[in-house]
């Protein structure tokens, strides 16, 4: 369970975040959507303890943060990158765990490749693999799929969904892609800008995600409903 209470943020004179309260149940997948500058990335960084803030955040011990641009070390091979976080966290049996993790995301055979030799999708799979290998209780994702093309993006959404159902971590995803939020989440949190605050939380009722879900009328209806709410501040 992740609990955010009375979190706010000022950058100099500008109030970036008004008082924000949010509870995320264990094993829940939550997405945060909102226009640029609504402070959704800042909120995620406050939860991650990367940005200081008054207010209280409680979260499980073991977590991972997935960044927008994969955040791989360019001088390390795929193998070296998937072992990086285990090194930082002092995890044993790095090699065996790395091999399993790479196989799970279909990167076995690329152990000796360097990040610049991988496609955008493969980089993100590697980034996810090195986080999942920590067996985190929660994962924070900061627009992880915004750098890949539309087709890859949908495939990665499906893979991310499978990871979530398999490993049962709690997830908070920041995205500006509404369909992505609806596809992946149990609940979608809508934020408004200046100062950033939560205006709506939409329940997503789908029990199971399959690719054809995107073509269902109920799916489009939810996407349109959220888009409508976001358009209010344009």
């Amino acid at each position: 369970m992740i609990e955010v209470s009375r979190v706010s943020k000022h950058f100099d004179e500008v109030q970036a975040l008004a008082e924000v309260n949010l509870g995320v149940a264990t094993g829940e997948f939550i997405s945060i959507v909102g226009p640029s500058g609504c402070g959704k990335s800042t909120l995620l960084r406050i939860i991650a303890d990367l940005v200081e803030s008054p207010g209280i955040v409680t979260k499980p011990n073991k977590g991972a943060f997935v960044f927008q641009d994969s955040a791989l070390l360019p001088w390390r091979t795929v193998q070296g990158n998937v072992e990086l976080l285990m090194e930082l966290e002092g995890v044993d049996n790095k090699k065996t765990k790395a091999n399993v993790a790479l196989r799970q995301v279909g990167l076995d055979g690329f152990e000796d490749s360097y990040p610049h030799q991988l496609s955008g999708g493969m980089k993100m799979r590697l980034s996810l693999a090195r986080s999942l290998v920590l067996e985190p209780e929660y994962i924070l994702l900061d627009e992880p799929l915004s750098a890949v093309d539309e087709l890859t993006r949908e495939v990665l959404q499906e893979e991310l969904y499978e990871m979530w159902t398999r490993d049962k971590f709690t997830a908070i995803l920041v995205t500006h892609n509404i369909a992505e939020a609806v596809y992946l989440s149990n609940r979608v949190v809508i934020m408004s800008p200046r100062p950033g605050k939560i205006t709506d939380i939409i329940d997503i009722p789908f029990k199971k995600r399959t690719p054809d879900l995107r073509t269902k009328p109920q799916f489009s209806k939810l996407v349109n409903e959220i888009a409508g709410k976001l358009r209010t501040w344009k």
């Binding site: 641009d69 955040a71 070390l73 001088w75 360097y114």
Partner: protein, 254 residues
């Protein structure tokens, strides 16, 4: 390497040597402008003594270069650790670059004597700034996202430095080392000029002064050529090291 890549620079060399030769023949004053062939002959004839000079200059330049690398990377690392230290030290690093070393060199010789120690110090002073500057630039331009990743995992400062900041700075460090390779040789030659004196047994700089005094122009040129090759050899060594470290992952070496 492909033959096609070698042709253009070789063509320039042939063109250069050709016009030099023609110029020297037309000018017809061998003691002022000897032909390339005459320079080559002098080089062969005085090979032993030139090699003695080369060995001395190499020793001074190489020692100076290594010391400059050690001090340069250390100082840049210290500066990268804190804004205050950077602000206090950087102006003096710039002074190191702007001080006319040729003018300071006599002072250094006064302080440290007419020996190789002074030559090494002058070489260090000349070679130091590009290493400090480039290393500092590299250490300060670590990707913000990667720093956040390491911070998120509560990584110790030292670990972050070893696993992230330093390797990320290697392309810049190599760039600095490449500039300083030639500078360290220049520094050694300047130092030898100041120490000068009449011995024809000294380093390349000493021998140049001696040959100049005796109007042995072809020997001066043969010595210049040797000093140039020495700087070039330093450069090639560092470039090879850079290629070895970077070609697998960095754009600059692909």
């Amino acid at each position: 390497m492909e033959v096609k890549k070698i042709i253009p620079p070789v063509l320039i060399l042939v063109l250069f040597l050709g016009s030099w030769h023609v110029g020297a023949v037309i000018y017809n004053m061998a003691f002022l402008l000897p032909t390339p062939y005459a320079v080559l002959q002098t080089f062969i004839q005085d090979f032993n003594i030139i090699m003695i000079g080369l060995a001395q200059t190499f020793q001074a330049a190489f020692t100076g270069y290594i010391i400059a690398i050690a001090i340069g990377i250390a100082v840049a690392t210290i500066m990268s650790l804190s804004k205050i230290l950077e602000r206090s030290l950087y102006p003096y690093a710039i002074l190191l670059q702007t001080v006319p070393v040729v003018a300071v060199a006599p002072l250094i010789v006064l302080w440290f004597g007419f020996e190789i120690k002074s030559i090494i110090i002058i070489s260090v002073i000349i070679a130091l700034f590009p290493i400090i500057n480039n290393t500092l630039l590299g250490l300060k331009s670590t990707s913000k996202t990667l720093v956040e990743l390491f911070d998120y995992h509560d990584t110790k400062k030292l670990t972050t430095f070893i696993k992230l900041r330093f390797p990320a700075a290697i392309p810049n460090i190599i760039a600095g080392l490449k500039i300083s390779a030639g500078l360290s040789v220049i520094g050694a030659i300047v130092g030898e000029f100041i120490i000068g004196s009449g011995s024809e047994q000294g380093g390349l700089g000493v021998q140049i002064i001696y040959a100049q005094a005796n109007l042995e122009t072809s020997l001066v040129m043969a010595l210049i050529l040797t000093a140039t090759m020495l700087g070039f050899a330093f450069f090639i060594t560092v470039s090879t090291l850079g290629w070895y470290l970077l070609h697998k992952w960095h754009e600059s070496e692909q």
